[in-house]
């Protein structure tokens, strides 16, 4: 059974776990479901956490893995059940539903339009403030993969949010990142 100390540390992490969950899931209710699933799994596998390592990174990794599994499962369901003519658009499931939320802010919409892998990279580094190395470890990818996802994610966000700064001719500098 997990120790009381583990439990209290987990409780302290809840607000920021919720923030990360909301960014990943693109929606408050889904984010809370994700957060709850993460809590359950963290408690169940608390014996796997190594004392002296960062609990937040460990918990984020759990959350991120649950979310990826769920995203893939949804994608499969969409491919299985969607009528054929809609099948073309299932790459990013839930987009239609996301866009239907008229009250979503610019930032939410821009984030929601990112591919999952770019969204998690952006959340971990820009919002949660992890170093590249830590973020790459949470995702389980090489640093180079993380930074190229970050570059592409940021470019897409800039475009969607109308920030200036990246010249159209800047392709030479970002080429070869993927």
């Amino acid at each position: 059974m997990a120790s009381a100390q583990f439990g209290e540390n987990l409780v302290r992490l809840l607000p920021q776990m919720r923030r990360f969950a909301r960014g990943l899931a693109r929606d408050g209710a889904d984010g809370d479901d994700l957060c709850q699933a993460t809590i359950e799994r963290a408690l169940k596998s608390s014996h796997l956490w190594q004392e002296g390592t960062r609990l937040d990174a460990w918990v984020y990794r759990i959350m991120r893995n649950i979310w990826i599994d769920e995203t893939r499962a949804r994608s499969r369901r969409a491919q299985t059940f969607a009528p054929e003519e809609e099948g073309e658009n299932v790459g990013v499931p839930g987009d239609a539903a996301i866009e239907a939320h008229a009250e979503m802010s610019h930032v939410d919409r821009a984030m929601a339009s990112l591919p999952a892998e770019q969204r998690e990279a952006v959340m971990l580094v820009l919002v949660e403030g992890f170093a590249y190395k830590e973020a790459a470890e949470i995702i389980g990818c090489p640093m180079g993969t993380l930074t190229s996802r970050l570059v592409r994610g940021r470019e897409a966000l800039m475009k969607a949010l109308g920030e200036t700064g990246i010249p159209e001719t800047g392709g030479a500098e970002t080429g070869g990142m993927s």
Binding site: M1, G7, R18, L126, Y132, T147, E155, E163, T174
Partner: protein
């Protein structure tokens, strides 16, 4: 000089080493376009951060906190109803007073521990007989005579070995958990001998003090004992009776 998009990003994220950081800063002073791009990256980062910041201030669902606290042993807050229910319920197998007492005794065994604890000539505490590790000398004597239920696990100035508990393993053999400065472990009585089932390095105190904290090994040994044991550990009366019958 050229500054790549990746470098601009790393600059804003604080990921550049000092030399590269200085180079980018210098370049931005001379290149307004570069300065703009850095400012835009920074603005994006700030905007995202600010956008998600309020989530942290939302009250966390109480059910989450409750589920975590329910799954982790609570700080001692006494809930009378829960306490009554706990007392009414049958005690879990391994929470018997015998183990609790043994663990407690292990926490503060009294005795001065000195270098030459294993007296009795040249023979060490553990010998090999017919391929089995067998307790001998002081360890053999301690296993034969000391009771876990005695103060300090029966340790005294002559035989600074503590007995942490006694139990039956599958098949009925009696086994004893012991801890000493040179070795700790679990020995089972088989064929008139104490055969070592588990041996860990002892936990010699770094300094010679009258009070000695139980090593973390005590906990590991008790956990091992639980996996080996059949039924409850012996209580003080049973242990005494087992001793009188020669641990058979």
């Amino acid at each position: 000089m050229t500054v790549t998009q990746e470098e601009i990003m790393a600059y804003v994220d604080g990921e550049l080493d000092d030399a590269t950081r200085g180079r980018v800063t210098l370049a931005a002073l001379a290149d307004l376009d570069l300065a703009d791009r850095i400012a835009a990256e920074r603005a994006l980062r700030e905007r995202l951060k600010a956008h998600f910041a309020p989530v942290v201030d939302e009250p966390v669902p109480a059910a989450w906190v409750e589920s975590i606290r329910a799954a982790t042993p609570p700080a001692p807050v006494i809930n009378l109803a829960a306490e009554r229910a706990r007392r009414a319920a049958p005690a879990p197998r391994w929470r018997t007073p015998a183990w609790a007492g043994a663990a407690m005794a292990a926490c503060l065994a009294i005795g001065v521990f000195v270098g030459s604890q294993w007296h009795g000539g040249g023979q060490g505490p553990i010998v090999v007989e017919k391929g089995a590790l067998v307790a001998s000398g002081d360890l053999g004597r301690a296993l034969d005579t000391q009771l876990a239920s005695a103060d300090g696990g029966g340790a005294d100035g002559h035989a600074p070995i503590r007995m942490l508990g006694t139990f039956h393993r599958e098949g009925g053999d009696l086994c004893r958990v012991f801890a000493g400065a040179q070795a700790s472990g679990i020995a089972c009585h088989d064929g008139g001998q104490w055969q070592l089932q588990h041996v860990l390095p002892g936990s010699a105190p770094a300094e010679q003090t009258a009070y000695r904290q139980a090593g973390s090994q005590d906990g590991a040994l008790m956990a091992l004992a639980q996996t080996m044991a059949q039924g409850d550990p012996l209580d003080a009366t049973q242990e005494k009776a087992a001793k009188d019958k020669g641990w058979r």
